[in-house]
């Protein structure tokens, strides 16, 4: 009997310990997680943070000493004697604040999420592998490491991150590792490249090709030309001011003489293209603004520059503020955790910023394999060999890795195979700028140390992608903007539709010379700007894309800049937060006309009057923008959905500009008729029905019209933790104005991810913040300490230090790194 008791009690005790030592579904191994010695408790931070204490550390591999001063918002100001130590320290402090973010983002890029998250992310990982993210990272690493300056930076940055990881004890690892039950792994230089690949994928990883091909098949060339023109019909205000002369002799475009109609490759077979993830339409709100004015327009007589990149708003923020100082450099701005240097910022002499160029640098090619071995594909009337790259996807909880043989053609990797499960289209290869070797780091390094316009121009030559509008201003009172990146030399509309992978005429055949990228310096109008709109007017001799972001933000920015005189940093701050809707100004009066003539219910009358009285500002408290924004979306669907949508096939609506043109200039167009109903609808039917439907939909979601319809509540901007699953780590609901088509582009989950204003001058004065904080620890007082000001549209003054000994009441603590 006593043996039974002993056995049973020991068995139960062992079972208890075992059960608490392993994860159960999403619940982490509870034993270590809940222990006050090692568990989540230890991630707590007092309001008086650890940042606010002096420290002295002895570190391996430093060459000389480093001083870090932390200011009151937790920004590190790093003073080093050489570049290696500088980037070492940047790596160390970035890891201190953002280690898990760096890990997650590089894992996502490398297709290694399943290794820590299990089988639910396998498809995502497979997509990353097939997209050739690893291939792109490797070719970029090779280029970057062959440059001594970049090599030193990457190695220093890597060593610094690893020095931080090596001193971490179990209790100090970031909370996300504890929750997900895995350990930090060492950093390697290629992870920096994965971060760049991830940015390229975010900003230049979508393709309309399949949707446009389907439209061509179902509507014909004439209609496609009419509804999907290569330049906005109604309004545009291009990045490079219209009329700017092109001071170069353009290259001939190869393949133009042998041009075949774009539909050759697909017309023979009547197959329609399925929707795939990278054919999903762009998210509005994924874009950015930047601008600069000349000294003639400013109060100080020196240029002022502004930049607010709009990205997915997450906690921790995508950006990390830092000041980097060596005897040869003194730069302040934001970095991307995982990449050394400053991406957007300023120094003593210059300031710069970036917005995305919507260039078509991802093209899909239809591929014909000889047989199921995928060893050869048809190209230029012969069979050509493919290359295989074996990718192993490790999956947590499974002892076997998934083997994925990614097949490479000379265009690029195969992303989908004809006949594979869950996919009904042809075999597709992706030709993508992310596979081109480049040295993005060097561009930013050169900007970090730039002293003048020539340095800026030199810096841009290193850049490949994702193409950006680089705005610039300097102390010599120059302003400039360059549409910069490596752009394929294409015939017009090449890549607007699916390309033929067997036809050499469809290849990318060379590049637009970097010196011929659209650029303007000190234009007569006294300002430069960009908001992801068309890069140039149609006079530019090269084809960059057929569509860009809708022009409303750009139009508003340029109107305001045009009028600005004696401008200050605060004028720029106000413009960053401008909520005026150019879209409403353009179409609302016309839309309301159609409502005037019909009987409306009492509730609809109130809504009508609300819109009629509206000042067209998307302010937080107003109800009109909630109605208008809902109505515009409903109206778009009412016009186009019947013929331009399918649940399973790739389709897209015409652009917003084309839709507005239709409403204003072509009220009799047949597109207003809903072909799915027997009746023949007119524009006025569609406008009226969509108005009522929009009101019904708002009522269904927010109850009867009341203050709950306030724009801030309906828009419901929210800043979510990167995991997208850990709700207690999200921000509280944000109650600000804005909208996808206004300058202050904050939407539900996207918006200004960093707002910066720099007044150039003998001493630069700069302001900025992001909707978050320096620390990635949800328990830190620095996790979202800038959020309240961001919500109100205020900015922090940025502390630009000159020496490590500087005295300033905002400086809180000093860390000293010594060589061991």
């Amino acid at each position: 009997m006593k043996y039974v008791k002993a056995l049973l009690s020991v068995a139960f005790a062992v079972f208890l310990v075992f059960a608490l030592s392993r994860p159960w579904g999403p619940v982490p191994a509870l034993g270590p997680f809940i222990s006050p010695y090692t568990g989540f408790w230890q991630n707590g931070e007092a309001p008086f943070s650890e940042h606010f204490g002096d420290r002295e550390l002895e570190l391996d591999s430093l060459r000389e000493g480093v001083t870090i001063r932390f200011d009151d918002v937790g920004v590190p100001h790093i003073f080093a004697q050489n570049n290696y130590d500088l980037y070492y320290t940047q790596g160390y402090v970035t890891a201190k604040d953002r280690l898990w973010q760096m890990d997650l983002q590089t894992r996502a890029a490398a297709g290694r999420l399943s290794e820590v998250l299990g089988s639910r992310t396998v498809e995502m990982d497979r997509r990353a592998r097939r997209m050739g993210m690893g291939y792109g990272a490797e070719v970029n690493l090779k280029t970057t490491m062959s440059d001594p300056i970049s090599r030193e930076a990457l190695l220093g940055y890597t060593a610094g991150i690893n020095a931080y990881i090596d001193q971490l004890s179990a209790k100090n690892v970031p909370i996300e590792y504890k929750l997900l039950g895995y350990e930090p792994e060492h950093w390697t230089p290629i992870k920096c490249m994965y971060m760049l690949e991830q940015m390229t994928l975010t900003l230049a990883g979508r393709a309309d090709d399949l949707a446009m091909t389907n439209l061509l098949k179902s509507l014909g060339q004439g209609t496609v030309n009419d509804l999907f023109p290569d330049y906005p019909l109604l309004k545009e205000s291009p990045v490079i001011p219209a009329g700017t002369p092109w001071n170069f002799t353009p290259l001939p475009i190869p393949g133009t003489s042998t041009k075949k109609t774009t539909s050759d490759s697909t017309d023979t077979e009547n197959e329609m293209m399925p929707a795939i993830p990278l054919s999903e339409p762009n998210v509005e709100g994924l874009g950015s603004n930047n601008w600069a004015i000349s000294g003639a327009k400013s109060a100080t007589g020196y240029p002022i520059l502004s930049n607010d990149p709009h990205l997915e708003l997450t906690l921790p923020s995508i950006w990390y503020q830092v000041q980097l100082h060596t005897p040869d450099m003194n730069v302040y701005g934001v970095s991307l955790p995982g990449i050394p240097g400053v991406v957007i910022g300023f120094n003593q002499n210059v300031a710069w910023g970036v917005t995305n160029v919507d260039a078509d640098v991802l093209d899909l090619y239809k591929i014909k394999f000889r047989d199921s071995t995928h060893a050869e594909y048809w190209y230029n009337n012969a069979w050509r060999k493919t290359r295989k790259r074996l990718e192993m996807i490790a999956v947590k909880g499974s002892s076997d890795s998934i083997r994925e043989n990614v097949i490479y053609t000379h265009h690029g990797p195969i992303i989908n195979y004809e006949g594979e499960k869950g996919y009904t289209g042809p075999t597709l290869a992706a030709k993508w700028i992310g596979h081109e070797p480049g040295n993005g780091f060097r561009t930013f390094y050169e900007l970090n140390i730039a002293r003048n316009y020539d340095d800026y121009r030199k810096a841009l030559t290193y850049y490949v992608g994702p193409a950006q509008n680089f705005v610039f201003a300097d102390n010599s009172k120059n302003i400039a903007i360059t549409v910069n990146g490596k752009f394929p030399l294409k015939r017009k509309e090449q890549g607007k539709f699916l390309l033929d992978g067997s036809n050499p005429a469809d290849d990318w055949r060379g590049w637009i010379p970097m010196a011929q990228n659209p650029t303007v310096k000190n234009p007569p109008r006294g300002y430069v700007s960009s908001a992801n709109q068309s890069s140039t007017d149609p006079s530019y001799p090269y084809y960059i894309n057929w569509r860009f972001a809708p022009p409303e933000r750009a139009i508003r920015i340029n109107e305001r800049l045009e009028q600005m005189t004696q401008a200050t940093a605060d004028s720029f701050r106000v413009l960053q937060n401008d909520n005026f809707s150019v879209l409403a100004r353009t179409i609302l009066p016309t839309l309301l006309e159609y409502l005037r003539t019909i009987p409306l219910g009492p509730f609809q009358k109130v809504a009508y009057q609300t819109l009629a009285d509206w000042n067209m500002v998307n302010s937080a408290e107003a109800i009109a923008p909630s109605i208008f924004e809902e109505w515009v979306v409903t109206l778009g669907s009412a016009i186009w959905k019947d013929e331009f949508h399918s649940d399973s096939l790739a389709f897209r609506y015409p652009t917003r500009d084309r839709t507005e043109y239709l409403i204003l200039k072509q009220p009799d167009a047949r597109w207003f008729d809903n072909v799915k109903t027997p009746a023949k609808e007119t524009i006025s039917d569609i406008v009226q029905q969509s108005f009522k439907a929009a009101l019904d939909s708002l009522t269904a979601r927010h109850g009867p019209m009341s203050p709950t319809w306030r724009w801030a509540d309906v828009k419901d901007t929210e800043i979510v933790h990167l995991s997208r699953a850990l709700k207690p780590f999200n921000s509280k609901p944000i109650r600000n104005g804005g909208g996808g088509s206004v300058v202050n582009a904050s939407t539900h989950h996207h918006g200004p991810s960093w707002r910066m204003v720099v007044e150039l001058g003998p001493e630069p004065k700069a302001y900025g913040l992001y909707p978050g904080g320096q620390s990635g620890n949800p328990a830190s007082p620095l996790y979202m300490n800038m959020l309240a000001k961001w919500e109100k549209g205020e900015l922090n003054e940025l502390l630009f230090m000159k020496s490590p000994e500087e005295k300033n009441s905002r400086l809180q603590s000093t860390w000293t790194f010594k060589k061991k």
Binding site: S9, L16, V17, W41
Partner: protein, 122 residues
């Protein structure tokens, strides 16, 4: 006295060893202590539970208070618990149960080696 002695041995040993060893110290120490010197099943269970609960409750309270619940309150929310205090209570209870059952196992294993007479002598 032995009861109090066991309580303090477990308390001090688990309290200190957890700074250098993993969490399962709270299982192993009560087991070993009760294997070494326990007399009653119920007491072995109770003493182990009480000692380890004391350690975890004390340390968790200290960390919770000194960080003003900045992480514990969020984790409580994640586990759908009403507050950081409720989380502290649940965690403490769980640690106590582990320790209690391990202490009990220690006692029963001890019975395999110890003569009846020694066990019943007071």
């Amino acid at each position: 006295m032995r009861v109090l002695g066991n309580y303090f041995i477990i308390l001090v040993a688990t309290g200190l060893l957890q700074f250098i060893l993993p969490w399962w110290v709270i299982a192993v120490v009560p087991f070993l202590v009760c294997l070494w010197r326990s007399k009653h099943a119920g007491v072995a269970y109770g003493v182990s539970l009480a000692a380890v609960s004391t350690v975890w409750l004390a340390y968790a309270t200290f960390v919770h208070n000194s960080t003003q619940g900045s992480m514990s309150n969020r984790i409580a929310e994640l586990f759908s618990l009403p507050s950081g205090a409720a989380l502290m209570f649940s965690v403490t209870l769980l640690s106590g149960l582990v320790a209690g059952f391990c202490g009990l196992a220690g006692y029963y294993v001890r019975q395999l080696f110890v003569k009846e007479t020694i066990v019943t002598r007071t």
